[in-house]
Amino acid sequence: MNAMDSGNKFIIEPADAVGRSAAPSKRGGSGSGYTARSKIYPRLARGSFRSIKWAVMAITLGIYYLLPWIRWERGPGLPSQAILLDFANQRLLFGPIEIWAQEFYYVTGLLVLGALSLFLVTSIAGRMWCGYACPQTVWTDLMIAVERFWQGDRNAHMRLDAQGWTFERIWKKTATHISWLIIAIATGGALVFYFRDAPTLASEFATGTAPTIAYVFLGIFTLTTYLLGGIAREQVCIYMCPWPRIQGAMLDRDSLFISYRDLRGEPRGPHKRGESWEGRGDCVDCTACVAVCPMGIDIRNGSQLECIQCALCIDACNDIMGKVGRPSELITYTTVSNLENATTGPRDGLRIIRPRTILYSALIAVVGALMLWSLTHRTDFDFNVLPDRNPLFVTLSDGGIRNGYTLKISNKLETSRHFTIRLAGLQNARLQYVGFETSDPVIDVGPAEVRALRLYVSLSPSARAQLKSDLTPVIITVVEDATGHESARSTTFKGPGQ
């Protein structure tokens, strides 16, 4: 561990590796096997990044709470919710797109796209997800705002906690926790609305007639929101979340991260108005960056595992730099490359096009194109052929050969439909469908139903001559009567061989 080697200073290391001056915590060196949590009182930052964070919070929470209430008319007897994860009926509804359980690969594809996008953003701009969009960050931010509303900003809050259990402290704490619980219930409530028609479920909640499972999940998500967002906060990022560990693999010398420019800032120290800035750094050691940090770290100690890169320290420092009349961006988004080049000023070079980002972008393009292609080429019915494996074929008493197939037609529409089946590749084949008298039946498939059929294909001893080997390719096609749309599957007709 040569973390003090200046070249490696900005490689992500747990805080202790570079010391922790702001909170000389009990982590390490205490002798006890476990460390107590030191409470963090983040001060409200003001500035452009804080504004961006408020905006992102409003947008993400707005999407989360409102999405289930958007309607989408699909027709009588069908759910009219735009986004509905209808597990009860084994389907996912996204506006005009209905995804069945057997098409879950679309969801897998979406998750793959999400992961790749996260990789790309991380390799370009570092922990953007952690700093702005992660639910843990957004809800923690919301809970902290509520806490500030009742108990005051950093200093007032610390004063409140320093006094005993006075009436003021008790009612302010109570009000905070009640507010958190209300937010938590609203959060859990919004989540269950994604799984059941929102207005229906809302009235069921109002009358106490919702399904038990809805209450269970409401309870679970209420509890997790309250515990993780209100109580645990930064502990989740530091001790529970695997992503901070994983994303080290996506970061390199050209990835953006938030850093204190120690070349410009050091040597730091208090500065009186009118004093010269010669021979000293710009950092006035006001610890404003530490006070606003929701993770309770000192960014001046270098890049740390705890840092979620929320950029609030940039706002805090810029505010101070403005007041003392020094240039802003003492703490800033930069890259390891830029720091090593000792470039200064707000406009450092950013090398976005790198093998890593090209790879991630290419993968996103490929997966996205595949998804789009398969989505635009999906049919409203599906057809599968399963040739019998046991026995592979049956010899008939007259010396003919028979093969059996199971055909599955899935009707993805909510109306009954009729299909006919054609077989190509064999001459003079005799077709029999189990349960049908004719060899050319019309197959009715009910609304959103999968129908399985047994088909026997026989060749007479004379027709057997056309079999040139033990496997003869055949094509079975299902045709929808109303539209003429068809779906073909190739399979084989098996025989004993020549």
Binding site: M1, D16, A17, G28, G33, Y34, P391, G399, G404, G435
Partner: protein, 303 residues
């Protein structure tokens, strides 16, 4: 290792005191206290779990727990519920004739699914999972039936079996022409040649023509003058492409010498009537099922 604390020179953080390879040390990174408390809570939870749920083995069984929960009981309950949900179909099958069930798509579908499961449990051991049979065990997919292949005939065969000892069972068997001294070895060879010639296999034509009168005298009673068999007696059609025991000269000679008499259990003694109906419908659906008993045609002429 050493009694006093060791601090890492670079970071100033205490190490665990362990040393590997002379100089490798590990920084002491303590877990948060709440983590420890969660761990304790899990231990307490485990004690609670032991009390409430089945947990510990004892010499004669296991501790049942206050809730008396058992996965077996859950399954039994679910099976009973599934069975109850099937009742309307089972009642329908019990009340309908086989041909009526076949005309009712809902009942027919249920019978086929149930029949497939029953077949796997009861029949597959001899007839194979795909009903493909084997030497001595008929293939039920083909259109060659020893005891008749319409729904009622299949139902009868399943119900009472073949040479099963049940009073209603199919009971006739192929005599032991050789062992009982009815035919001499040379005659058996001749008649075997003749039998094989019926399905156009390569034979010694001279022997086959010597065998023809023997066949007419000894075999045609059951197998018919043209060797087309008789489902009343379970006498196989000897002129088709399907051979239960094989069609080599040796195998056919052995059949004549020692006779044949495979056994199938009477399933009415083991399964309920609804199950047997479902099995009959399933076996009939395997491809060789004959639509109606062909009473107008001679008994020894297969379709």
């Amino acid at each position: 290792m050493s009694g006093k604390k060791h601090l890492d020179e670079i970071t100033g953080v205490e190490t665990t005191g362990h040393v590997w390879d002379g100089d490798l040390r590990e920084l002491n990174k303590p877990l948060p206290k709440w983590w420890l408390y969660v761990f304790y809570a899990c231990i307490v939870w485990a004690f609670g779990y032991w009390m409430v749920y089945p947990a510990w083995p004892t010499l004669t069984g296991y501790t049942k727990g206050y809730l008396g929960y058992s996965q077996r009981a859950e399954v039994t309950k679910e099976l009973a519920a599934a069975k109850a949900a099937q009742d309307k179909y089972r009642v329908g099958i019990a009340a309908s004739s086989l041909s009526d069930i076949k005309k009712n798509p809902e009942l027919f579908q249920f019978a086929l699914a149930g029949g497939a499961a029953l077949f796997g449990d009861n029949c597959a051991a001899c007839h194979g999972r795909g009903a493909q049979g084997g030497v001595g065990y008929p293939n039920l997919n083909d259109d060659d039936w020893l005891w008749g292949g319409d729904l009622e005939q299949i139902h009868t065969t399943i119900s009472f079996g073949v040479r099963s000892g049940n009073p209603n069972a199919h009971d006739t068997a192929m005599p032991r022409f050789g062992l009982d001294g009815v035919l001499q070895p040379a005659q058996i060879s001749d008649v075997a040649n003749y039998v094989r010639s019926l399905s156009h296999l390569d034979v010694d034509t001279a022997a086959a023509s010597r065998g023809a009168p023997i066949f007419a005298e000894q075999c045609s009673v059951c197998h018919g003058t043209e060797g087309k068999g008789n489902t009343e007696l379970g006498a196989p059609n000897l002129s088709d492409a399907i051979w239960l025991y094989g069609n080599s000269q040796e195998t056919v000679m052995q059949s004549i010498r020692t006779g044949r008499g495979g056994i199938m259990p009477a399933w009415s003694e083991r399964l309920d009537p609804i199950s047997i109906k479902m099995l009959a419908l399933y076996v009939h659906s395997l491809g060789g099922g004959q639509s109606t008993p062909d009473k107008s045609a001679p008994a020894d002429a297969p379709k």
